[in-house]
């Protein structure tokens, strides 16, 4: 595992470069800034040598084409990626790959991010010489709940098969039949129902495996990519969210070796639906029939009118969801101090299933962050999910309503209930004042994952949705209207106020948090799930049997 890295000198098309002795020719060429094309090779999977696209020559065996993915570098090796033989092979391989490929670009979701398209223009760019019919194969096989398979587009690179075997470690896919009749298939009665099946779509270099959730929803060049963090569980997988207008279209994993490598789970992929659907759009007051959308200014007024007389009275409680970002939690604690709240409850999504790889049982992205701030504010957080947690509460301010559904009966009896809510859940229906809040994907912010990694999400949507504002903005404005300090106006300022309060964040600046995030050493645990990626500073994983 920890063999020392040996560097060797190689030459790629005359460019001298230092390569890791474990590199294959593709990786060595990449270091020299030269691209060797490949379909089946994937740096995180075993070598298959299926596609024959990466064949190059080396000076020690002139005239013999070698698979760039399979052959390792050695000291003094000269790699030639541009010889006539290499070029002719690339052209020929492309022609073979396209022989049975249907004329599908116009209806294919992969169009625009397809390796066949890229390599065709780069290495082939010649008309078809085929004069016979193309082979017809199954066009829409539902391999599982998230994956649809189009066998005609498949080039049999077997990346998906290898991924399921080696990374997901749930061997649910296999190659069946032979020659050009080969197919990717599941075993009878065993669908591709792994929680990691979506990754097979990502690593599919062509449009053969498609995500049912994204299929036919948008062309890929119409959506904007922004880096964010999945809010599906406390692992905080790094992702890109793709958006257009006020809608999000899909989540894709973003590389972070210490959090999620290049993968993410299927549950996480679907978390963006909460941003698109059943949203609280407008600031409002009143329940049921008396409900009235009144806009942010009047809604804040109404909240102040309800809360001002109760300031400092016993029975005033604050509900903080572990879905809140660091900035939102900071705003909520500040508001709590302003109100003189006597009780703080930590809510959140109910725990679910976890595994040894990427999925954590805690389905909230920022429990550690909220707990860190509670400690900084000297506040005792009570568990929100225990029965009777709201007993004795006469007024409640909720920073996000996750988990409040357990206490609907108690909520109905509460005199003043102000909810900063994202979705129209049963709890939000019972609030006297509802302030619509942006999701993590929309507004950005920071979260702290289960092992204490502070990670930033970049705002994906510039167009406002209804009256929605970030939670820290609502909390700050409400606190200000109740006589507190002037509300912060930017997420940078909101984070700065958290950093000034909580010791683990001391000296950090919002804009200085990189896409990789950073570990807060004070929060680092001693034990990690067995196969989970972990930071370098963490104890090394036990060697696997």
């Amino acid at each position: 595992m920890t063999t020392p890295v040996k560097m060797v000198k190689v030459e790629v098309d005359g460019v001298a470069v230092e390569a890791d002795s474990r590199d294959n020719l593709v990786e060595a060429a990449r270091r020299a800034g030269k691209a060797i094309p490949y379909f089946c090779y994937h740096p995180r999977l075993s070598i298959a040598g299926q596609c024959r696209m990466c064949l190059v020559e080396t000076a020690d065996q002139p005239g013999r084409l070698q698979a760039g993915c399979q052959v390792k570098v050695k000291e003094g090796l000269k790699i030639l990626t541009n010889t006539p033989a290499v070029k002719e092979n690339q052209r020929g391989v492309m022609e073979f790959h396209l022989i049975n490929h249907p004329v599908d670009c116009a209806i294919c979701d992969q169009s625009g991010e397809c390796k066949l398209q890229d390599y065709y223009m780069e290495y082939d760019h010649q008309p078809s010489r085929q004069r016979t019919y193309k082979l017809q194969k199954p066009k829409r096989e539902e391999l599982g709940p998230m994956v649809v398979y189009d066998a005609e587009r498949c080039i049999m690179c077997t990346r998906c098969v290898r991924f399921m075997d080696e990374v997901a470690q749930e061997p649910q896919l296999a190659v069946v039949n032979r020659g050009d009749h080969s197919l990717i298939a599941t075993f009878p009665g065993q669908p591709l129902d792994s929680n990691y099946s979506g990754n097979t779509v990502d690593i599919c270099p062509v449009g053969a495996l498609l995500n049912t959730d994204f299929r036919f929803k948008s062309r890929v060049w119409f959506v904007e990519k922004s880096p964010t963090v999945c809010n599906g569980c406390s692992n905080g997988c790094n992702t890109y969210v793709e958006s257009r207008g006020t809608q999000l279209y899909r989540l894709l994993p973003r590389r972070n070796e210490e959090v999620n490598q290049v993968w993410m789970c299927d549950e996480g992929r679907l978390t963006y639906h909460e941003t698109n659907e059943k949203r609280v759009e407008w600031a409002r007051k009143g329940r049921g029939e008396a409900r009235e959308d009144i806009g942010p200014a009047l809604a804040l007024d109404e909240a102040r009118r309800l809360l001002a007389p109760l300031k400092g009275k016993p029975g005033l409680a604050l509900w903080i969801s572990a879905q809140c970002t660091v900035e939102e939690a900071q705003g909520a604690f500040d508001l709590g101090a302003q109100l003189g709240a006597s009780k703080y409850l930590l809510g959140g999504k109910p725990a679910g299933k976890g595994d040894e790889f990427l999925v954590r049982a805690d389905k909230n992205p920022n429990r550690r962050g909220v707990e860190m701030l509670a400690q900084a504010w000297g506040v005792k957080l009570e568990a929100g999910e225990t029965e009777g947690a709201l007993n004795g509460v006469s007024a409640l301010v909720a920073a996000r309503t996750d988990g409040l559904g357990l206490h609907l009966g108690a909520l109905e009896r509460i005199e003043a209930f102000i909810a900063i809510a994202q979705n129209e859940d049963p709890a939000a229906q019972l609030a006297q004042v509802v302030l619509p809040v942006n999701s993590l994907y929309e507004a950005g912010g920071t979260v702290v994952n289960y092992y204490g990694r502070l990670q930033r999400s970049w705002a994906a949507i510039v167009k406002p949705r209804g009256d929605a504002q970030p939670g820290w903005a609502w909390a700050g404005q409400l606190a200000e209207s109740l006589g507190g300090a002037r509300a912060v106006a930017t997420v940078q300022a909101a984070f700065a106020s958290a950093a000034a309060k909580a010791a683990p964040l001391t000296g950090l600046e919002f804009d200085a948090i990189s896409e990789e995030g950073r570990v807060l050493p004070a929060l680092l645990p001693t034990e990690f799930p067995k196969r989970a990626p972990r930071p370098e500073s963490a104890p090394a994983a036990q060697p696997q049997a």
């Binding site: 396209l98 490929h101 249907p102 004329v103 599908d104 670009c105 116009a106 169009s111 625009g112 066949l116 398209q117 890229d118 065709y120 223009m121 082939d124 760019h125 010649q126 008309p127 078809s128 085929q130 060049w221």
Partner: protein, 417 residues
Amino acid sequence: MTQKTQAAQAADTAPVALNPDPLELDDELPSAFSKVKLGPSHPATHGTVRLNMTLDGEKIVECIPEIGFLHRGFSKSSENATWHQVLPYTDRLNYVSPILNNVGYILAVEKLIGITDTERSKYLRVIGGEISRMCDHLTCVSAIGLEMGAMSAFLYGVEAREMLWDRVAEMTGARMTTSWTRIGGVATDTPPGWIERVKETLPRVLELTDELDKLFSKNRIFVDRTRGIGVIGADEAVSWGFTGPALRASGVDYDVRKAHPYLVYDRMEFEVPVGQRGDTFDRYLCRLEEIRQSARIVTQAIEQMPPGPIIIDDWRYALPPKKDVFTSIEGVMAHFKLIMEGIHVPAGEVYGFTEGSNGELGFHIVSNGAGKPYMIQVRAPGFPIVGALPRLLQGHSLGDLIPIFDSINMIGGEVEQ
């Protein structure tokens, strides 16, 4: 930038005062310089330009041209368009002879890629370009007359121009916004019967050109108002950066088509008219003669033009035929990539130059290897000439302004980009 003349500086500061110069004591009553702004939408300046003048009575003491009313951000827009999407922007440079701009731009891009178009396309580009040049010169020559009051002469010129523009429209689909060239060729071939119609059109155009010649060249009013007006010598014209008819009128025999032949100009027989005096009249004469020479070129090119493809058969640059796009995956991929990402022009920079209707039309192109230009700059032939306008107008009376301004043929589209 324009050097303020001493007189103009004096005009800025000196109040109405007695002139202390004893030699000028015989002058008439002292008077102030008047400031007059001509344009930007004056009917006699056929470009959208404002001329800020300081007048001493009728005499132009100083004239500062103010350009930019037609600025469209050509360079910046080009950076956000694929290589072919830049083409419509080039139409709007010199909009009277758009094909010449199309050809100039595409030749520069092809130079950077290192490809040449097909043989037939070369001839088509020459034919289209020379027809455009005739249109441009006809417009300029007849507009000089129009703006001096010769309305009927203008109608002759425009009749000829419209006939040629009809031919252009038949071939390219548009009178002015042609966007006709493609990397590696041209968009459309000559339609059926087009060659015959051109052969019928050219003699009529030449007839009308002769008519213009007769109406102007020995016309007392015209000659009096143009001969010896707006004179600029050869050396000075060169140092100002003149090219094209304006330079040749000053006696410099420089034509890109002869000096650095491109396309098939080296196979054509034609003369480059060169003037002697560098005045408005010679600039007019040069343009008039170039119409005839362009007609010669078109006639020869039509005779020599071989049959064959009008665009190269390389799917990296040219769109595949529709038959392949609709029936083969190779075709649809090539089409998709060319349209969505654009042609991949190798990284590097190049200066491509051709003879536009007003002179050397240069494109400085920088590519970083992507489907869109990294940068495009235009050497618009009209720009340095407009820069010399204050110098050309110096000492002339206000009435000479319009003929001089017309004879340099400022085209707002290219000057202001």
